[in-house]
Amino acid sequence: MLIEAENLSKTYTLRKKTGRLKRERATVEAVRELNLSVAEGELLGYIGPNGAGKSTSIKMFTGILSPSGGTLRVAGLEPIRERKQLARRIGVVFGQRTTLWWDLPLRDSFALLHRMYAIPDARYAENLKRYVELLGLAELLDTPVRQLSLGQRMRGDLTAALLHDPSILYLDEPTIGLDVTSKMVVREFLAELNRERGTTIVLTTHDLDDIERLCRRVVVIDHGTVAYDGELSALRNRIAADRTLVVDLARPGPAVTVPGATVTRVDGPRQWLAFPAEANAAELISAVASRYELVDVSIREADIEDVVRELYSS
């Protein structure tokens, strides 16, 4: 196991001002009794609402925060205590906060990492060549980072995090704010990295497209602990969120009434009908068609966003 967390907890003590001088101590359990094991070569979606304990736990995994309870081993090391050794085994991409040198060409940031991680020259050259090719950075190596677009910078950050061949790559919102093409490049790159190099990837994101396209296993963190851990498809089934039938009627009218479905929205002649995932869609469509004049129909499956929202609220 590359990441092994048992009953991992993190408690913060906050001092709240309650009067002019008085302060009250309040403890906040950001992470409580979190259990997680991640095997080598997994590509894990790590999701949850803001403030659920995602980043607190990731900070513990990366050796930035010390746990207040439980045990944690990452790559066989004890984070914090063996911070430097751990740093050699992990790569971290902080999403919006770049770790590249703002005013210097991309190439210079890579060269600094070459030294800091003491990457053997041959391996450095090989990795740099490979990532530059895969991520299309060749023309950008001599461009100062400040002149790169968000997507280009993200590709630079990815390369920077991988030059030392880490076993685990942590990504915090790697596709936020990127255009469609950049998103695709990043996703394809991650899938290939995981497949070809066997790099374990822990992906934190709000973009559920990322999860759907990349991750077989999803861990949902809520209220500081694991709310769901398993396959993405099973998560969908477990919640069994409603599907939606969208019908275009011949003319606008009041909400239709059919057994087994409820209208959630009406917009002119178009109406949205929610029905249970396990119900027969064909029957529902013929029920609507027998009562109203239908022009067009389409069915929308519950997407992961609905599923997760459902999970959070339950």
């Binding site: 925060l65 050794q85 050699r88 992990i90 005013d103 210079d108 600094l112 991680y117």
Partner: protein, 274 residues
């Protein structure tokens, strides 16, 4: 793996590599850098001019002539600005923590403190050294010193001790910023305040402050104590002659305390994340 770990850069290489990156970053804006450097040199020069203006009205300050005051001013300024050049990156730590970019330094396989020392380094920090060494040389040439080998050696000894004392204070600044990210200005009392106080004969400040500046915050060892010996003045506090040479001991002790404060602050950061 082990082989790579063995070649992981130590403190000095990490520090120099980071410095180089920051220096090159600053040099991307050449015109701006040149203008700021001219300005910085000029400002440091006007401070020196202020000292000269004072001496155009008085013969001596705290028992020291202009030539002697120039020497004191020169040693304090040179020591402070060399320490500023080397260690002042700790001042930017509060901002880093607030912006969340400090974490990036923690996930690298190298020491945190050398990366912090080098933070935001810019060649413009060389500028104040011009007037500092100008004052120092002027003082050395014109002060009526009976030069001996010991006195001559004490001059660089004074500078090194001064750099070390101020350096330890910069480490405290770093520790303080980690603990109290939003009160970074508070440490200016010790850093820039210390720079100012040591630039003039401590005998100006009276006995109690002198005692505090010797045993409380050992700024008295930046330049005052060894300078008393070089210039052949008695110690107004009447401390034994050994104190003139004790600077490095106080500096080492201060570094010991500063480094453990730094480690404590890092531990605090790791347990609170802020």
């Amino acid at each position: 793996m082990d082989e790579a770990a063995a070649r992981t850069p130590g403190v000095v290489v990490t520090y120099l590599a980071s410095m180089r990156m920051w220096a090159r970053s600053a040099m991307q804006y050449r015109t701006s850098l040149i203008l700021v450097m001219i300005y910085g040199t000029f400002v440091a020069g006007t401070e020196l001019a202020a000292l000269l203006v004072i001496y155009s009205n008085v013969q001596s300050l705290g028992g020291f002539s202009l030539a002697e005051a120039l020497y004191i001013y020169g040693t304090a300024q040179a020591a402070f600005f060399i320490s500023d050049l080397l260690f002042t990156g700790t001042e930017y730590l509060g901002a880093r923590i607030r912006m969340g970019t400090f974490d990036a330094l923690l996930v690298r396989p190298v020491g945190v403190l050398p990366q912090v020392f080098a933070d935001q380094f810019t060649p413009r920090r060389f500028c104040p050294l011009i007037s500092a060494f100008g004052a120092l040389v002027a003082g050395l040439v014109s002060a009526p010193v009976h030069w001996t080998w010991l006195r001559a050696v004490l001059v660089p000894y004074t500078l090194l001790t001064g750099v070390a004392v101020f350096g330890a204070i910069w480490v405290f600044v770093g520790a303080f910023q980690v603990m109290v990210t939003d009160a970074s200005e508070a440490m200016n009392i010790v850093t820039y305040g210390g720079q100012f106080m040591t630039s003039y004969p401590l005998s100006l400040y009276g006995r109690n402050l002198m005692l505090f500046l010797t045993f409380g915050i050992p700024l008295g060892f930046v330049n005052w104590q060894p300078t008393l010996y070089v210039l052949g003045h008695p110690d107004p506090l009447g401390l034994p002659t050994l104190f003139r040479f004790a600077g490095p001991l106080f500096a080492a002790a201060l570094w010991g305390v500063a480094l453990s404060a730094w480690r404590g602050a890092l531990r605090h950061h790791c347990s609170t994340g802020s």
